[in-house]
């Protein structure tokens, strides 16, 4: 009993240290979306590609197929890192819609897509950033996984690297595909 009284605080302290130490390795930006398990708020934005008649709307999601919503910008460095991954996903049949966030000059987003390749089914222009702010975008790139019913199921902050896709997003997409 006496022993226990001495050991207990030590055990507690070590446990606390372990929790803090593990916390060091976590990305403080990786916050869950405030819209987790909820549908995206209503929005409609104009097109990025001059040939498109429609840009992007919340009603483009949840059409019986899980999709990705990728928030990007031509001025964003990490977006270049994830771009080849998005191109590969497109060739594998993954539906990706894009939101071009806070583009600084009109047409820059389209130029970027024409030069680097266009992985998006639909892509909307959000020059003021207000549409992204409506669903809690803090920066670019961010990628949301949207389920068959159009609900947000995951928010990834930062570039979608091959590891992020294979370890996090791909298993989730597979799971969402098997959901009714």
């Amino acid at each position: 009993m006496k022993r226990l009284l001495f050991i207990l605080p030590v055990v507690g302290f070590v446990a606390l240290l372990a929790v803090f130490f593990l916390g060091l390795g976590r990305d403080p930006r990786a916050l869950p979306s405030a819209f987790l398990d909820k549908p995206l708020p209503a929005f409609t934005v104009g097109p990025v590609r001059p040939g498109d008649t429609v840009g992007l709307s919340n009603t483009d999601f949840g059409k019986g197929e899980p999709m990705l919503l990728n928030v990007f910008a031509s001025w964003c460095g990490p977006c270049r890192v994830e771009h080849p991954v998005l191109m590969r996903l497109k060739s594998e049949g993954v539906i990706i819609h894009g939101l071009d966030w806070k583009e600084r000059s009109p047409g820059a987003g389209f130029r970027w897509l024409s030069q680097n390749g266009d992985p998006y089914v639909r892509v909307g222009d959000d020059p003021t950033g207000r549409t992204g702010i409506e669903f809690g975008v803090a920066g670019v790139p961010e990628t949301f996984v949207i389920d068959k019913q159009g609900r947000v199921r995951y928010r990834h902050v930062g570039a979608v690297t091959p590891e992020v896709w294979e370890q996090k997003l791909a298993p989730l997409m597979a799971k969402l595909r098997s959901e009714s």
């Binding site: 207990l8 869950p32 207000r130 669903f135 920066g139």
Partner: protein, 156 residues
């Protein structure tokens, strides 16, 4: 003059950074502006995370300051304006976390640790004083030994 220079430089370094809220963002009505300022000091900038949106120079912080002011100018109460941001970015953006079931430990954890530590210390101190009492006074042999040692001290 040369001596003054380092002092001036030190004073310049001490000068606090001006608030990030820019003149063009401020509301014309000083009452509304005061409310907006107070709210923006309670909202965390999600880009820099340890600054309020009032302190932060991040572009997103500016956007949120403007949105906050738009809501207030449109007649929102403080709570409604706050909720507008919190509903989009989550309660993480509240620098003063609300008291909810999942924040109870955050609010009362330190008190809990203090109480546990206090109880532990009390038990320990009490245990020690009771062992001292149990040993009790010295018997005759011990008294003699003590006297011998003290004497020895004097001689030595």
């Amino acid at each position: 003059m040369k001596r003054l220079l380092p002092i001036v430089a030190a004073l310049a370094l001490l000068a606090g950074p001006a608030a990030a809220v820019n003149p063009d963002e401020q509301l014309a009505d000083p009452k509304l502006e005061a409310r907006a300022l107070k709210l923006s000091q309670e909202l965390r900038c999600v880009v820099c995370q340890n600054q309020s949106i009032d302190d932060s120079d991040a572009e997103l912080a500016r956007d949120l300051r403007l949105i906050l002011r738009e809501r207030i100018a449109a007649g929102d109460t403080d709570e409604q304006a706050m909720d507008h941001i919190v509903s989009r970015y989550g309660s993480f953006v509240q620098l003063r976390p609300p008291l909810r079931w999942d924040t109870v430990l955050l609010w009362f954890g330190p008190v809990l640790v203090l109480v546990l530590g206090g109880v532990g210390a009390a038990v320990y101190v009490r245990g020690r004083s009771s062992t001292a009492a149990a040993v009790g006074a010295l018997n005759a042999d011990e008294e003699a030994e003590l006297a011998r040692m003290l004497d020895g001290d004097k001689v030595g």
